[in-house]
């Protein structure tokens, strides 16, 4: 079973702080991590490999330093990693990103499943996964919380797709693309031997020229959307402390919330 996992290196948003004076984002010293949702994707891919054999290839589009993120996935058990990096990709929005990733996937040869995290924590768009499947014209199952069955003979998979009210059971022929939510598994930690292997592993690098893509559709050129303004949201107003014994507190709070709740 050939599995491709798409990951993204993101700033650890939990470490991002706002400079109270300039009201801007303090990014210096903020560590880069593998997008947490992508860790579930990597774990699921490794589990599928452990069950069905085959190969896990992890790909990412990003700057040269995103190699770190790829190595981390090798330390967990991924077999190969590909860095898709080129200045021509700068300024890509989700359209251009999914176009580029789909181009890279085509160069990798046959695959059975593509797995993505449901969204990245920096952009939170959840658009790239479905975008890739649209570019590749393969079926998709988004928000997968459980893979119920994979049949490699008949080439299909059945999965539980999370919805607002519960879940749906969806069957798809292979190859297909799935995006996964946290509930699907608990990612393993790396092993020491995995870390050593990751250190030595060769990361394949591909750029715009290595893919059969229209240069006019890459990077900013291929991106229909443009960011025109970035600003910090107004901080919440300072709250009010309610004191007293439980009874008094409850009375006060009920009074304060009445208008919102009734």
């Amino acid at each position: 079973m050939n599995i491709i996992v798409c990951i993204k290196q993101v700033p650890d948003t939990t470490e991002v702080r706002i400079d109270p004076e300039t009201n801007t984002l303090i990014r210096s010293g903020v560590a880069c991590i593998v997008n947490p949702f992508d860790m579930y994707a990597v774990e699921e891919a490794i589990r599928l490999k452990e069950k069905f054999g085959g190969k896990v290839t992890v790909i990412t589009m990003g700057p040269p330093q995103a190699e770190e993120a790829l190595r981390e996935t090798i330390s967990l058990g991924a077999d190969e990693a590909v860095l898709i990096s080129d200045r021509a990709f700068a300024g890509s929005d989700t359209w251009a990103t999914s176009y580029t990733l789909s181009g890279a996937i085509r160069t990798l040869g046959d695959y059975d499943v593509i797995i993505c995290g449901k969204q990245a924590i920096d952009g939170d768009t959840a658009q790239v996964g479905p975008g890739i499947s649209a570019h590749l014209d393969i079926p998709q199952i988004t928000y997968v919380k459980k893979i119920e069955e994979v049949d490699m003979e008949k080439k299909y998979m059945r999965a539980e797709r999370m919805t607002e009210e519960g879940y749906e059971i969806v069957e798809s022929p292979l190859p297909c693309l799935i995006t996964v939510v946290k509930e699907i598994n608990e990612p393993r930690l790396p092993s020491l031997k995995g870390k050593m292997r990751a250190k030595k592993a060769e990361i394949k690098k591909i750029g715009a020229k290595d893919m059969d893509l229209d240069p006019g559709l890459l990077g900013l050129n291929g991106s229909p959307t443009k960011v025109v303004k970035i600003f910090t949201p107004a901080p919440r107003e300072k709250g009010q402390v309610i004191e007293g014994d439980p009874k008094e507190i409850s009375e006060k709070l009920v009074e304060l919330l009445k208008s919102d709740i009734l």
């Binding site: 393993r188 930690l189 790396p190 092993s191 031997k193 050593m196």
Partner: protein, 383 residues
Amino acid sequence: MDYLLTEEQIMIRDLARQIAKEKIKPVAAKYDAEGIFPWDIVKILSESDLFGIYIEEKYGGTGGGSMELVLATEELSKACGGISLALAATALGTYPIILFGTEEQKMKYLPDLAKGKKLAAFALTEAGAGSDAGAVATTATKKGDHYILNGTKQWITNGGEAEVYTVVASVDRTKGARGAACFIVEKGTPGFEFGKKEDKMGIRASATRELVFTDCKIPKENLLGKEGAGFIVAMKTFDQSRPGVASQALGIAQGALDLTVEYVKERKQFGKTISSFQGVQFMLADMATQIEAARALIYATARMLDSGAKKISKDSAIAKLFASDMAMKVTTDCVQLFGGYGYMRDYPIEKYMRDAKITQIYEGTNQIQRSVIASNLIKEKSK
């Protein structure tokens, strides 16, 4: 301070740190309260290859030594000094095999221990033989191809949970310390049973039990080293393991200080954070200094051991003594800085103080360490 660790050592430290932070820290309080053995964490440690960091590659380890073990124990102990013992006590039980095992014994036992498939324990202490290791009353009587073990070992860390035990017993009680021998005993051997699990003050996530041998028949191939070498096996094992206990103490102290620094930065009194008071600052500075001194001493000792140095008893005793006394002092001061909150079980700090205490007691009380240091000192000077 930069200790010029190798790339592999940094990997081990970072990996242990990640496991401590993500997996151990969230459950440390639960295991402390319930006093159950952390098998789920053991599984994680085993999958991460950390059980093999001091074992040669040909036996399934990653080929490190004392320094690697010290780094991992320190990091794990920052989160929980009890859970880290699953690894450290296994190392203690494994060292006799590494140091004195034949090739067959090593091939038989080390691969499973290196993978963490099995845990180990070292059994020396008895009711009447604590610091006085020569007074071992458990006997091993040779009968043909076998030894028959009889007696009771007390307060054995990993007891009941481990699969492989290295047990010191007397083959000739008339010879005292020179009549001891060390044996490998597997869990499940007929005549080998466990007593009740001890209810301890600290390191409550570790299992401490009695081992009871009643006409327990073990094959003579399980003898480690020679008859009469049991005391030497024990002493050499302790020489190797003392930096491990020291690093456990170091980790406990560092973990407590980390929490304390966070706390004093938040806690306000008289309209200021208490970290702004010089009295508090001086305590923090003293603690950090003591911790760093212990770390430097432990790392130096571990590296000396790994270099193959022979005369190590005094230095490894110094490291254990200094680090464990330091840990007790630092954790006590940390509780002090938490004030009333520090005394409450709702806050994590008092656990560090309870956990620290044992490091002054086990694997040779600090009084014994002083004796070892002093006798070596006097011996050196009288040459």
